[in-house]
C-alpha cells in the first residue's frame, strides 16, 4: 500500500513514517511541500495523510479522493471528525496507533474488490496452462490475444497465490480440473 504524508513539519512526517513502518509495514512517501507531491505523479498513492489547510487549498484534487484521506489535526481545536478519519498529533501513541489501524483497515476494505472464485475463462486458461501449453498456443486455442492470456494468468496468480506452471498444474489436479493422466 502506498501512502503519501504531506505536511511541512519534518519531525511529524518522520514520526508518522516510523509508526507506519514499525506497525503496518508501510513505507510512506514524505512531502514537506505540496508542490513536490504534484510534481511526483500524485495519483499513484492509495491514501493521503495531510492537514485541513492543504486539503482546502487543493480541494479539486483531494475532495474526489475523500475516502482515501486522513486529516492531521495539529492544534487542540475541535477536530474535523465529520470529514472522516483524523489524526490529532498530540494524542498518546496508543491512541494514534488505534486511529491509524482503523484507517488502514478501511483502505484494505476498499482494496478488497477482487472476487476469489475463478471466472469460466480463467478456469479454461488454468486447464491449458496446467497441460503445458504456452501463452501463444492458449491464445490461439481460445481465440483471444496474448495480452488477454497474460492478464488471465496474472489474475490466476493473484487469486490462487500460485505462480509457477507446476504449482498451477497441481492445483488443477487437486481441484479436478485435470486428471493425473492428462498431465503425466
Amino acid at each position: 500500500m502506498r501512502i503519501a504524508v504531506i505536511s511541512n513539519h519534518t519531525l511529524l512526517n518522520i514520526g508518522l513514517k516510523h509508526l507506519l513502518q514499525s506497525y503496518f509495514d508501510i513505507s510512506p512517501a514524505l512531502y514537506n511541500r505540496i508542490e513536490a507531491l504534484f510534481n511526483d505523479n500524485p495519483e499513484q498513492f492509495d491514501a493521503y495523510i495531510l492537514t485541513a489547510d492543504t486539503l482546502l487549498a487543493y480541494s479539486d484534487f483531494f475532495l474526489p479522493r475523500k475516502s482515501k484521506i486522513m486529516l492531521l489535526v495539529t492544534q487542540h481545536e475541535t477536530p474535523a471528525e465529520t470529514f472522516g478519519p483524523s489524526l490529532p498529533v498530540y494524542e498518546d501513541e496508543e491512541a494514534l496507533l488505534e486511529r491509524i489501524e482503523h484507517f488502514v483497515e478501511q483502505l484494505d476494505r476498499q482494496a478488497e474488490h477482487l472476487p476469489h472464485d475463478l471466472s469460466p475463462r480463467e478456469t479454461e486458461v488454468l486447464k491449458l496452462v496446467a497441460q503445458g501449453f504456452m501463452n501463444k498456443e492458449i491464445a490461439d486455442q481460445l481465440n483471444i490475444s496474448i495480452n488477454t492470456v497474460l492478464s488471465h494468468r496474472k489474475n490466476l496468480t493473484a487469486k490462487l497465490g500460485i505462480k509457477t506452471v507446476s504449482g498451477l498444474s497441481f492445483y488443477a489436479m487437486m481441484n479436478g480440473y485435470l486428471s493425473d493422466i492428462d498431465n503425466k
Binding site: 490462487l160 497465490g161 505462480k163 509457477t164 507446476s166 504449482g167 497441481f170 492445483y171 487437486m174 481441484n175
Partner: protein
C-alpha cells in the same frame, strides 16, 4: 534483531535466534557452546570470525546484506560454506520434510488425495534442488576451486556484474507449495503433522533464500571474474 559482533557471547546470540543452530553446525560448532565470545570460539575452531559473524548477521536480518564485505572474502571460503548448506538440505532438511509428509499422508483420511498430489509437487521441487546440488558438487564448485588455486591470490579484477537475477524457480515453487497448504488445503488431515510439514517448508525456504543471495549476488560475480581471468591467462 540488532547486528551481532565478534565480542558477543555465542550462547546469547543463539538463545535469541535458535534458527542459527543449523548455521553454526555448518561451521563445525555443536550445541553446548558454553559462554565464550564468538571471537574465542572462532579462534578455537580456527574459523575466520569476520566471515562467521557476517554470515550469522545476514541470516538473522533479512534486510542486511553487505555486498562489498562479502565480496572481500575468498571464493574458497564461500564455496565451503555453500557446500555445507547444500549438505544440510540433502541430508537433513529434505529427509525431514519427507518424513513429516509421509506421516501426514499415512495418518490422514485416505480419501484425501490432495496430500498425495502436494507430495508429488514436493518431489518435483526436491528433484530440482538435488540436481542443482549435484551440479554444484561436480562442476561449478570444483571449477571455482581450480581457478582460485591457479590464480594463487593474484588480482583477478572486479567481480563481474551479472544480468539482473531472474526469479529463482525453487523459491517460487516453495512459495506455491506453501500456498497450496495455507490457502487450498481440503479434507481431513492430522493437524499436528500438517504443522510439522509447513514449519519444515518455511525453514527450508528461509535457508534457500539466504543461500541464493550469497550464491547469486556474491559467489557468481566473483566466480565469473576468476574464471575469465584464468581463461585470459591461458591465452
Amino acid at each position: 534483531m540488532a547486528l551481532i559482533n565478534a565480542e558477543c557471547k555465542l550462547c546469547e546470540v543463539i538463545l535469541n535466534e535458535p534458527s542459527l543452530i543449523p548455521v553454526i553446525n555448518r561451521f563445525g560448532i555443536v550445541l553446548g557452546v558454553g559462554d565464550k565470545s564468538i571471537r574465542t570460539v572462532c579462534e578455537e575452531k580456527k574459523l575466520d570470525s569476520e566471515f562467521f559473524v557476517t554470515i550469522l548477521n545476514t541470516f538473522i536480518n533479512e534486510d542486511y546484506f553487505p555486498e562489498n564485505r562479502l565480496k572481500s572474502f575468498c571464493a574458497a571460503q564461500i564455496v565451503d560454506y555453500l557446500t555445507q548448506t547444500n549438505a544440510y538440505y540433502q541430508q537433513f532438511q529434505i529427509p525431514n520434510i519427507e518424513r513429516h509428509f509421509n506421516s501426514l499422508i499415512n495418518q490422514s483420511d485416505s480419501d484425501n488425495n490432495n496430500l498425495e498430489l502436494m507430495k508429488q509437487f514436493f518431489e518435483e521441487l526436491k528433484k530440482e534442488l538435488l540436481s542443482r546440488i549435484e551440479h554444484d558438487r561436480t562442476t561449478w564448485f570444483p571449477a571455482i576451486r581450480v581457478a582460485a588455486e591457479s590464480l594463487h591470490g593474484e588480482y583477478y579484477g572486479e567481480p563481474l556484474r551479472n544480468d539482473p537475477i531472474e526469479t529463482d524457480s525453487l523459491e517460487e515453487k516453495l512459495d506455491d507449495l506453501k500456498s497450496l497448504f495455507i490457502i487450498h488445503l481440503r479434507g481431513e488431515y492430522d493437524l499436528n503433522l500438517c504443522h510439522g510439514v509447513i514449519f519444515a517448508l518455511y525453514s527450508l525456504e528461509k535457508d534457500i533464500k539466504q543461500h541464493n543471495r550469497i550464491r547469486n549476488r556474491i559467489l557468481r560475480p566473483i566466480a565469473d571474474a576468476m574464471l575469465k581471468a584464468c581463461r585470459d591467462k591461458k591465452q
